[in-house]
């Protein structure tokens, strides 16, 4: 049982780290603001959640796990709202998404 938990947390942690790194790459390489936002979304919710759940499995049933749950709840409450607010502000200030010309045919 311990072994299963150990490997599960290992898998979650590395998965989370991988997702974070992919999101980081995305925010660096994607062409414009709106597409970068997708990359940021991945790391902020899924990546963080994987890392935090991995840590929860490590700490077992304790106060630390409760605190990690609180962090996760706070992140899920704040991060999408912040991303939404940024996108809305960008749209209202007149920032246009970068559209490739061929897409008009579809």
């Amino acid at each position: 049982m311990d072994l299963i938990v150990y490997y599960a947390s290992w898998a979650l942690l590395s998965c989370g780290a991988f997702l974070c790194a992919v999101g980081g790459l995305g925010i660096l390489r994607l062409p414009d603001f709106y597409s970068r936002q997708h990359a940021a979304g991945i790391t902020d919710t899924l990546g963080s959640a994987f890392v935090l759940i991995g840590l929860m499995l490590q700490s077992g049933f304790s106060l630390n796990a409760a605190k990690l749950v609180m962090i996760l709840i706070f992140l899920i409450l704040t991060s999408p709202v912040a991303t939404h607010a940024i996108a809305q502000a960008a749209r209202q200030s007149g920032l246009e998404p970068k559209v490739v010309a061929e897409e008009d045919e579809a």
Partner: protein
Amino acid sequence: MFIAAMIGVLITMLMALVRALSGPTVFDRILAVNMFGTKTVLFIAVLGFLSGRPEFLDLALVYVLINFIGTIAILKFVRFGKVETA
């Protein structure tokens, strides 16, 4: 294991940082800063386990709160402060 997570988080922090420094629009910066803040939360959480004393997760909670408030304050300023967005 924690080292792998730590390296992942640090690399992400660096990439977000580069985006925050290079822009080009203000919103890119804000997005990168917000993401950087989330990564510092993960950093603190992982660091606690890495250094063998994971009791200080309260800190990570503060980071979530402050990061959010900071982002909202910046956005409010963008909305009402007539920011040059370039």
